[in-house]
Amino acid sequence: MAYNILVVDDSVTVRAVIAKTLDIAGVPVNELYQASNGQEALDLLAEHWVDLVFADINMPVMNGIELVERMSSEGLLDTIPVVIVSTEGSATRIEQLLNKGVSAYIRKPFAPEMLREVVDQVMESKNDG
């Protein structure tokens, strides 16, 4: 099964790197959507079916934490897992995000294998749920 994936990051380079890494890692992708902040992501989610979201934390307009909170309040987190991809390594911050319903956390820089592993785990967990 190929996934519709949304990548949310204010860096166009990071979005391109995640897209390339998904390809290298052999993750089956149907549609790859991109957004540069949380608000753009919510707009895209309102119009397209998405199986999985990769999101940064620090972004202008609406950051990744607000995005997760909005997705949670709108019930979107029940069906669409969110994986945070960030430079931040604070265990406190990661715990906060997991408590808010985030499915996984990947710290930059990351290897293709790590991305593949997380996608497999998250999607398996989603399908089991």
Partner: protein, 153 residues
């Protein structure tokens, strides 16, 4: 800055640039830096939260496209490498900053990282940055790179 902290910063920067851009860096004394050219770029970002501070990186202008090409896995002469060169350098600083803060402050404190900015600097600015005693100097695939992190105690 004590020697242990300097070594930690050097180790993290070299690790990040290797993993992100597949480029190899080593800490060198300033008089052993590769030739720098005459056009330079400086990227800077601030952070707040557990501690406030800033991190600055300066590189020769032509290195930006090389970083972008390596990060994106495209040819250095491609339009993509050229168009993404500034963004790639800012992201390199962003990732370096996050990793250094965790290494220096530990995994409990929470930091807010603010978006990096980028500007062109001249040779005089480069030399002033180089002569700062807190600046770290690296040879990255025969490119000189300067890095400085400032944290309020």
């Amino acid at each position: 800055m004590d020697e242990e902290t300097r070594e930690k910063i050097d180790e993290i920067f070299c690790d990040v640039i290797e993993k992100m851009a597949f480029m190899f860096g080593e800490s060198v004394p300033e008089d052993e830096l590769p030739p720098a050219g005459s056009e330079f770029v400086r990227t800077e970002m601030t952070f707040s939260g557990a501690t406030e501070g800033s991190i600055v990186m300066a590189v020769p202008a032509q290195m930006c496209a090389e970083v972008a090409a390596n990060v994106l896995g495209v040819d250095i002469d491609s339009d993509l490498a050229e168009s993404r060169s500034c963004d790639a350098l800012k992201e390199l600083l962003n990732v370096t900053c996050g990793n250094i803060l965790t290494a220096l402050a530990g995994e409990e404190p929470v930091f807010d990282l603010h978006p990096p900015t980028l500007s062109e600097i001249n040779e005089e600015d480069w030399n002033n940055f180089l002569s700062d005693e807190n600046t770290h100097a690296y040879n990255v695939d025969e490119n000189p790179v300067l890095l400085k992190i400032t944290m309020k105690s």
